[in-house]
């Protein structure tokens, strides 16, 4: 009898937050009698089966006590395999589908998704391509711009100054959290930040910084049909909405102060809803995702997409969390992430090719 799995952790800056998301999902599934298998992915890329009853603090010093080491085998007949003993060969754990609760690369950028595809494990959330797109701020922004959605200017930080006026906000091109985001007054500060910061080393994008802009968020669920959550307006501290403000001292996003269904000027709410709907298909959203917007006066722009949001945006749904999870698990099986085809690879090319040596000569 196979049961759902919950995957969390991972070698990511958001490793800890992912554990909180994962434990919430695991506890909810366990409470509803689904007996989930909890798969903890360590900071050092090792896998362990752990108990759903654990608390976040049990992971604070590393792998919790009584964790069972697993190997993750990508390939036909693969999956998560225990170490076994001298006499017993372990079989992969029976998993109906996995709830992916990882935030940040490599659990939210297509790496894990690709490995799960290769191992033949169904999973929730974005497929590899959707995850990769969501994690690349430059590509995502360009896709939105191409579809005519409202977006602010966003450019790669290179040798020259940005083509628009400051002040600027510089963000890592890849990365899901607010880590590494800096505000820069002028073009020189942008270049300096990109050169110095370890977080911006793999690529940085620059956007105009609007001190007065507020964040708006809408979560989406994609199965059985697209549902948008209420619009949420997180309360913003001074300056950049930091990692600390967002996460430290609470249960992920749950503890962050926010206003649901805020009063919005003009057609903003409508623009936000239409854009979120468009993003859902453009960015191949699957499971639960969150689309973030920037609001300044009566202008609104699509900012980023979070393809596996903190706590799976539990706080934004008006249905029980188990219903959200069940929907995701049903989708994982009903809408597979792989559509590999070998059409055309029927041997014709091989038979008519002649010798390899001949091709090299």
């Amino acid at each position: 009898m196979s049961s759902p799995a919950v995957i969390f952790g991972g070698p990511s800056p958001e490793h800890d937050i992912s554990i909180l998301t994962g434990l919430q999902a695991a506890r909810t599934l366990a409470g509803a009698g689904r007996a989930p298998t909890c798969l903890y992915w360590s900071k050092t890329n090792e896998w362990h089966e752990v108990d759903a009853a654990l608390e976040g603090a049990d992971f604070a010093d590393g792998v919790p006590r009584r964790a069972r080491p697993l190997r993750f085998v990508a390939g036909a007949g693969g999956g998560f395999v225990g170490e076994g003993g001298a006499l017993r060969k372990e079989r992969p754990l029976p998993i109906s589908a996995a709830v992916v609760c990882c935030h940040g690369a490599p659990g939210e950028d297509g790496t894990l998704q690709s490995a799960l595809d290769l191992a033949g494990i169904a999973y929730t959330g974005p497929d590899a391509a959707g995850a990769a797109l969501g994690m690349d701020k430059l590509a995502f922004g360009e896709v939105c711009r191409g579809a005519g959605l409202p977006v602010l200017a966003r450019e790669v930080v290179g040798e020259g100054p940005p083509s628009f006026a400051g002040p600027y906000i510089v963000k890592p091109r890849f990365g899901g959290s607010s880590i590494g985001i800096v505000v820069a007054a002028d073009a020189a500060a942008v270049t300096a930040a990109a050169r110095q910061s370890v977080h911006l080393r793999r690529g940085a994008v620059v956007e105009p910084y609007r001190d007065d802009a507020a964040d708006l968020e809408v979560a989406v669920r994609t199965y059985p049909s697209l549902v948008l959550s209420a619009i949420s307006k997180p309360e913003k501290g001074r300056g950049v909405y930091s990692y600390k403000e967002k996460y430290v001292g609470g249960e992920g996003m749950l503890s962050a102060p926010r206003e649901l269904n805020p009063s919005l000027p003009g057609k903003v709410a409508e623009v936000v809803r239409d854009a979120a709907t468009a993003v859902a298909s453009l960015a191949r959203l699957r499971g639960v995702a969150r689309v973030d917007f920037l609001l300044d006066g009566d202008e609104v722009w699509v900012n980023e997409v979070n393809t596996i949001p903190g706590s799976l945006s539990k706080h934004l749904w008006d249905v029980p969390f188990i219903e959200v999870l069940d929907g995701m698990l049903a989708e994982a099986q009903a809408r597979p992430t792989t559509a590999w085809t070998t059409d055309g690879a029927d041997g014709t090319a091989l038979r008519s090719a002649g010798s390899i040596a001949g091709k090299l000569g």
Binding site: P11, S42, K43, T44, N45, E46, A60, D61, G62, V63, R65, Q196, S197, V198, H199
Partner: protein, 508 residues
């Protein structure tokens, strides 16, 4: 009757073993620790009577098995005050290592009892075994040492392999105190510029560091900061043999773990093992012993750090309410003065420089130096009083600095409360250091809450040496929980409470 007396003694042994196994686990499985703590507990107040009863029962048991019951009962009940349900820092955890230790202890005890029964002295022998439970635990610890060493060396070998695979720049930090704080500061100063992983909390021995490498060293890490602690000569030498630092630092020397070293020169020598093979040595030369050491090291680059001398290689100086950081005499940062021991800041900055972080990046990060948990961290209690949490500290210099922190947060009318069980592991100077510090505390505070029995006499003596008019009211309580209850009942907004050190509940 005889059989019943033997069974009673065996049951008492099981109960006693559970206590001393807890001590073994809490004291890092060091042989000798069970006996050390057993003597501390049995010597306290009413426990002396109980101990006498236990001894008398065993001695008289050859005459009558009834005396054997008395002995067994005393061992089963005592020592009074020892937690039956240990909670701080946690309950007994039945790890594989503890199970092995418990099994070896129990088998040895049963063999001895069996031999006693066979030779016709079952009752006194079983009674003696019950009484000597801590000795059996210590003997099992010593016997299992080689086995544990072999097991650990397998784990260490794979940690070494992993470390070589990731190949980070390794920084090692040791010192009698300030290690964890300096490590936290250094990681913070480096974090913006390089991918850095510090060993977590106080994971600073062979087991902790190899676990940190296994569980924390993310592929792609550029700088690994390893905190290294030592209980005796040779331990750090063993650590740097596999966790080879390029940059090694000593933060401070003090009388910590003096009971295991004998004297402070031996501590300097043991700490200096960290420099074997290092390219850069970082030392806080405000300590004359470290200044002397700096002149003798065969390390290519020696960086002298100071919190007072401008001409040190790296200096972190207080200038009014500013912190000025100098590198080779040149000012590289001038930020608001943080509540930090500046010697640690200087060492942390020197480490950041040594791993290639530019001065301006260090300067920028210096303005946001983090508070280190449980180390003079300021929070507000539910009563509205301000608390200074220094519960991880057990050294004289840190304890004095904590009194300053309390004074800084005090308001004119409010109470200034110090809650402390005193400092431990200071060997022969423990009583003197606690008395001296208690005198400072009693003068600086309005209330001094003395927790537990471990240092009660020295603390009360020290406080008593303060002039009546200036002395804090002294309250003695049995446990940390009692102290917290006192604070809840007696403090409110405007008051400040310093929690100075907290001992695990296996301490009297």
């Amino acid at each position: 009757m005889t059989i019943a007396a033997v069974v009673a003694a065996i049951l008492a042994t099981a109960l006693a073993d559970r206590r001393w196994l807890l001590v073994a686990q809490r004291e890092h499985y060091l042989p000798g620790s069970a006996m050390r703590f057993a003597l501390r507990w049995w010597r306290l107040g009413a426990n002396r009577v109980l101990a006498a009863g236990a001894v008398l029962g065993v001695v008289l048991s050859p005459l009558t098995p009834a005396a054997g019951f008395v002995g067994a009962l005393a061992v089963a009940l005592g020592p009074f005050g020892f937690p039956l349900r240990p909670a701080s820092p946690g309950p007994l955890v039945w790890t594989p290592r503890l199970r092995t230790l418990a099994a070896v202890t129990a088998v040895a005890q049963l063999v001895v009892i069996g031999a006693g029964v066979a030779l016709g002295g079952g009752v006194p022998v079983a009674g003696l075994v019950a009484l000597l439970s801590p000795l059996a635990v210590d003997a099992a610890l010593a016997a299992l040492r080689p086995l544990e060493d072999r097991r650990a060396s397998v784990f260490v070998a794979s940690a070494r392999e992993r470390l070589e695979g990731v190949a980070p720049d390794v920084v090692a930090i040791t010192g009698s105190y300030g290690k964890t704080t300096t490590k936290t500061y250094a990681a913070h100063l480096i974090a913006g510029a390089r991918r850095v992983v510090p060993s977590p909390r106080s994971f600073n021995n062979r087991a902790g560091l190899s676990r940190a490498v296994h569980e924390q060293l993310v592929p792609g890490t550029e700088v690994f900061i390893a905190e290294m602690g030592t209980y005796g000569p040779g331990e750090i030498a063993e650590l740097v043999e596999w966790c080879r630092p390029r940059v090694a630092a000593i933060t401070a020397i003090g009388p910590v773990h003096l009971e295991r070293f004998g004297n402070e020169d031996a501590i300097v020598t043991a700490k200096a093992e960290i420099f074997a093979g290092a390219e850069v040595a970082v030392l806080n030369v405000d300590d004359p012993r470290l200044a002397a050491l700096a002149g003798q090291l065969p390390v290519p680059t020696v960086v002298r750090c100071s919190a007072v001398a401008r001409d040190a290689d790296v200096a972190a100086l207080a200038d009014g309410d500013r912190l000025v950081l100098l590198r080779s005499g040149e000012v590289v940062a001038d930020v608001a003065l943080p509540d930090a021991v500046l010697g640690n800041v200087a060492v942390a900055a020197a480490i950041a420089f040594a791993v290639g972080v530019p001065s301006d990046a260090v300067a920028a990060a210096l303005a946001t130096l983090p508070a280190v948990p449980n180390r003079r961290a300021v929070t507000t209690l539910s009563t509205g009083a301000l608390a200074v949490d220094d519960t991880f500290n057990s050294n004289p210099a840190g304890s004095r600095a904590a009194l300053d922190t309390m004074a800084r947060h005090a308001t004119g009318q409010g109470k200034r409360v110090v809650v402390t069980p005193g400092m431990v592991e200071l060997g022969p100077v423990q009583a003197g250091e606690n008395a001296a510090w208690a005198a400072c505390a009693a003068a600086a505070a309005t209330h001094l809450v003395v927790v537990g029995a471990t240092n009660r006499r020295a603390l009360l003596e020290g406080a008593g040496s303060v002039e009546d008019a200036l002395r804090a009211r002294v309250i003695a309580v049995a446990s940390h929980a009692d102290a917290v209850a006192w604070v809840r009942a007696n403090t409110g907004p405007g008051d400040v409470v310093l929690y100075e050190n907290q001992l695990p509940d296996h301490y009297p």
